[in-house]
């Protein structure tokens, strides 16, 4: 059977904000571009982004500029970010926002007709360009319309199964040759030959029980990259958004935008206390209000008042809520109260937060203009991802590029709200340009030809679940397996982690991988969700293992990674990123030093950020799956916040 075959210069996998922006850029650079996506065009997870996109346009606060944004991003990420990415991001985000306006996006306006910007956690100034609480929808619709206007080829409901590679005469190693996918509708296979591939597949949140992520977030891009020989970085950093819905059970995890807090909402425990005042870390103490009076004044007076503690970075707020619930001061449904009803009038709430209003009204019978919401942490975002070059978003595999959530580096150990949408367009564009430029360098030379053996192997592997069903015997149900994986990740690789639990998690993931060898699906190949899940499970399991491995290796607490057994930050770990690769089918972890920040950027921090140490200072680390070991040189001292002060 010959698969349907197409040939392009650049194939973009994923049609969220990053994928669409990459495709538009590659097209504008003259490349022939295809977009291949798992869902319908315009349904990608980007639509879930609510609050806004951070860009230092200084429309509301003239004091704002890219340096402040850069500093906020680095501090939010606990200095583990790739400084160059954070710099590029802060510098280019405003242009990307204005560009969206040129393409038809309609942001909320300031009285003088500029783009209005709103406050968000971790941002010094009101910086988020937004459209009510549906900014992601605006972004994706704008890019979607642009893609349609440019007549780009979009292959919808088409799931990529493998990155095809071919020998690279330039390096002697492998390089990208295309992708191999199947049509969800028919279950038939399709091959895209292309020298450049941009992965923009988003996150991995579907491996947790309580998550704001959709079924699509199965870590496809990360797994594809790993299997093709590229590396992942910072996978231990998973952001739990502090405010997800907690009741009723069927909506548990659905996001409640940070905009609620940005617009005046406060968190209270069942005793009625605004408990966030009890959780202000030293590093943010100077910028955070310590009385309710000052916090409330801040909304109208940003010059003399400091920010309310509800707007601390997400990791701080999520941990605080977690602690309150554990201390028995949570609601019966295991959350805390988020109250905007008593603080803003009904009309303002409905105008500023229309979709939150409807979401609670329709799904929970709660009128947020009258009652407080019940909220709790929900798995939201992975800071880690495919390791990329800050300038071009090139991965370590020639021809492979990555952008958006599936790429690593910009957010360090914790992402600030609003930085994801700007991430998508800033680095989506750069990835598209990088991929097109790479494809152009091959003009006149022989294009890589995909290996037929890889195609045959992937085809056979994809069809195994049907063969197992036909063969009968001891088989596994993919839905059950997914639910078991979610239970493992939720309970053992959640917000608070310990060595014992992570070791246990790796053991259980390994068992799940064995069970996955027996997954069988009934029915036929035509639009069969059971089959689709069985195939996605391979990615989920691999990525889950990477997360647990990296989490075990990082013996400190930082950003989106909190270790109960190592509650403080550790100066040694402050200088390293964990990088995972696949070697002989096993997850292999190494610690790599952070790149050194130039003095003109370190001077932005007060006190100045420590320069990254020479590479030799970093303990060489390598660990096999299941027994990652990263002995820090100095034992961490609990409660030390020195690193955070950096």
């Amino acid at each position: 059977m010959t698969a349907e075959t197409h040939s392009y210069d650049v194939v973009v996998v994923g049609a969220g904000g990053a994928g669409l922006r990459a495709a538009i850029e590659a097209h504008e650079q003259g490349a022939r571009v295809a977009i291949v996506c798992k869902s319908l065009l315009g349904k990608a997870h980007t639509v879930m982004a609510e609050g806004g996109m951070a860009a230092a346009m200084a429309n509301v606060w003239p004091e704002d500029n890219w340096r402040v944004h850069f500093r906020d991003t680095m501090r939010g990420g606990k200095m583990l970010n790739q400084w160059r990415m954070a710099q590029i991001h802060a510098q280019e985000a405003p242009d990307r926002v204005w560009e969206l306006e040129e393409w038809g996006a309609v942001f909320d306006r300031t009285p003088d007709g500029k783009i209005l910007q709103r406050d968000f956690g971790g941002h010094r100034y009101a910086r988020l360009a937004h459209v009510g609480d549906r900014t992601g929808l605006e972004l994706i619709r704008t890019l979607q319309n642009r893609v349609v206007a440019k007549k780009l080829d979009v292959f919808m409901e088409c799931t990529v199964q493998r990155l095809l590679t071919a020998p690279d005469p330039a390096t002697g190693g492998e390089r990208v040759a295309g992708v191999f996918a199947y049509w969800r509708e028919t279950g038939t296979f399709v091959r895209f030959d292309a020298p450049s591939v941009v992965l923009a597949t988003g996150g991995i949140g579907k491996s947790w029980q309580v998550t704001s992520n959709s079924w699509e977030y199965t870590g496809d891009g990360q797994a594809l990259a790993l299997r093709a020989g590229a590396a992942l970085m910072d996978m231990e950093f998973v952001q739990f958004h502090p405010t997800g819905m907690v009741w009723p059970p069927s909506v548990r995890g659905i996001l409640v935008t940070e905009g609620v807090r940005g617009d005046g909402g406060v968190l209270r425990n069942t005793e009625g206390r605004r408990f966030m005042f009890d959780y202000i870390p030293e590093v943010f103490a100077a910028d955070t209000a310590d009385t309710e009076e000052e916090a409330d004044r801040w909304y109208t007076d940003k010059k003399t008042a400091r920010r309310p503690p509800e707007l601390l970075p997400r990791d701080e707020v999520a941990r605080a809520i977690n602690s309150e619930v554990k201390a028995g001061r949570g609601t019966p449904h295991g959350g805390v109260f988020l109250d905007i009803a008593s603080r803003r009038d009904a009309e303002t709430i409905r105008r500023r937060l229309p979709s939150m209003y409807h979401q609670f009204k329709e799904l929970a019978d709660v009128d947020i203009t009258k009652e407080p919401m019940e909220v709790g942490p929900t798995c939201h975002y992975v800071m880690g991802g495919i390791k990329v070059d800050p300038e071009s978003q090139a991965t370590t595999l020639p021809g492979l590029y990555a952008a958006g959530e599936c790429a690593a580096g910009l957010h360090g150990s914790n992402r600030l709200g609003g930085n994801s949408l700007s991430d998508l367009v800033v680095f989506g564009r750069r990835a598209g340009a990088g991929a097109a430029a790479y494809a152009a360098t091959l003009a006149g030379t022989e294009r890589p030809v995909p290996d037929e053996a890889q195609v045959a192997e992937t085809t056979a592997q994809a069809l195994l679940p049907f063969e197992r069903a036909a063969a009968g015997g001891d088989t596994e149900n993919p839905y059950q397996l997914q639910s078991d994986l979610q239970a493992v990740m939720q309970s053992l690789v959640g917000i608070i982690r310990t060595e014992h639990e992570l070791t246990q998690a790796l053991k259980e993931i390994s068992e799940l991988r064995q069970r996955a060898e027996r997954v069988a699906v009934e029915g036929h190949r035509q639009y069969n969700p059971g089959w689709h899940l069985a195939l996605d499970l391979r990615s989920m399991l691999l990525v889950a293992e990477c997360v647990a491995t990296a989490a075990l290796a990082r013996r400190e607490s930082r950003g989106g990674h909190t270790r109960d057994d190592y509650p403080g930050t550790d100066p040694v770990f402050a200088r390293i990123n964990h990088v995972v690769r696949l070697r002989d089918g096993a997850v292999d972890l190494t610690a790599e030093p952070l790149p050194e920040m130039p003095p003109e950027l370190t001077s932005l921090f007060d006190p100045p950020a420590p320069a990254a140490p020479p590479a030799s200072d970093v303990p060489p680390q390598s660990a096999d799956a299941g027994q990652a070991q990263t002995p820090p040189e100095t034992p961490p001292v609990a409660g030390t916040n020195n690193e955070r002060n950096a």
Binding site: K43, G113, P248, V251, Q359
Partner: protein, 259 residues
């Protein structure tokens, strides 16, 4: 709190199909999509259903529940009596792929025919556009559209008259036209196109599109009727035509609207 829910789900494909009965254990607070997922996980692994966000933001899980178009993720089961059978069928207006999944390509094809946004030159001294909130309020209402295509599905012109798919773009696309026509920066005039290619005249404003819109967009009153009036300005109003000829453009007019 849980109870057994009687469900009747259409299963089949382009070659035919039937309503099949299932009983699914459900709990308080669940939505129809939860029941479908439970059915899928426990009794019918290969039941085809399209969904993504499960929060009413992506518009993927449109289906017909007891004969009415609904987002399955936003339809709570407490809408129905515990003893009532809940019938779920795919959208009727589009070709069926399998079970509850339909081929919605029609909507994307129609979207390709819409002339794109064409902004004028920026008016701000910083080289960027200026727009007042009062000018974008109308546009923002339309841009709330999540493309669930339930308006297209319920629109009788498309639903009951297959031949009209060639000549009528449907409510979703009318909203897209309205959004561009009312965009304060846009310079294109799409009124002739609306009358001819998009077939705004086929709409008889019976408002089912507005009734089913999960985003509560006033598709008919704020979108299609203003478009019909704009088309009337251009094609059916001799006085307005005369007025345009006699009068220079007012600053608010941009040459496209108003009699």
């Amino acid at each position: 709190m849980g109870y057994d829910l009687a469900m009747r789900v259409w299963r089949g494909d382009a070659d035919g199909g039937e309503l099949r009965d299932f009983t699914v254990e459900v709990e308080e607070g669940m939505v129809v999509l939860d029941a479908v997922h439970r059915l899928q996980a426990t009794q019918a692994n290969d039941l085809a259903v399209r969904w993504n966000c499960k929060a009413g933001k992506c518009g993927s899980c449109s289906a017909e529940v007891n004969g009415k178009p609904r987002l399955m993720c936003m339809t709570r089961l407490n809408l129905f009596d515990p003893g009532e059978t809940v019938t779920i069928t795919p959208l009727r207006t589009f070709p069926v792929v399998r079970d509850l999944v339909t081929d919605v390509a029609f909507n994307y094809e129609k979207a390709e025919e819409v002339p794109t946004f064409a902004p004028g030159r920026p008016t701000g001294d910083d080289g960027h556009h200026r727009m007042q909130q009062v000018d974008v309020d109308r546009v923002q209402e339309f841009r709330k559209c999540i493309e669930c295509f339930m308006c297209q599905n319920v629109c009788h012109v498309l639903r009951d008259h297959e031949d009209k798919k060639k000549v009528f773009a449907g409510p979703r696309l009318m909203i897209r036209y309205a959004e561009l026509e009312m965009h304060p920066l846009d310079t294109n005039d799409r009124r002739d196109l609306l009358r001819e290619e998009a077939g705004v005249g086929y709409c008889n404003i019976t408002k089912c599109c507005t009734d089913v819109c999960p985003e509560h967009i006033k598709i008919t009153d704020n979108g299609i009727i203003p478009l019909k009036e704009r088309v009337a300005d251009a094609s059916f109003d001799p006085i307005a035509a005369l007025g345009r000829r006699l009068r220079r453009h007012s600053p608010a007019d941009d040459g496209t609207g108003g009699a």
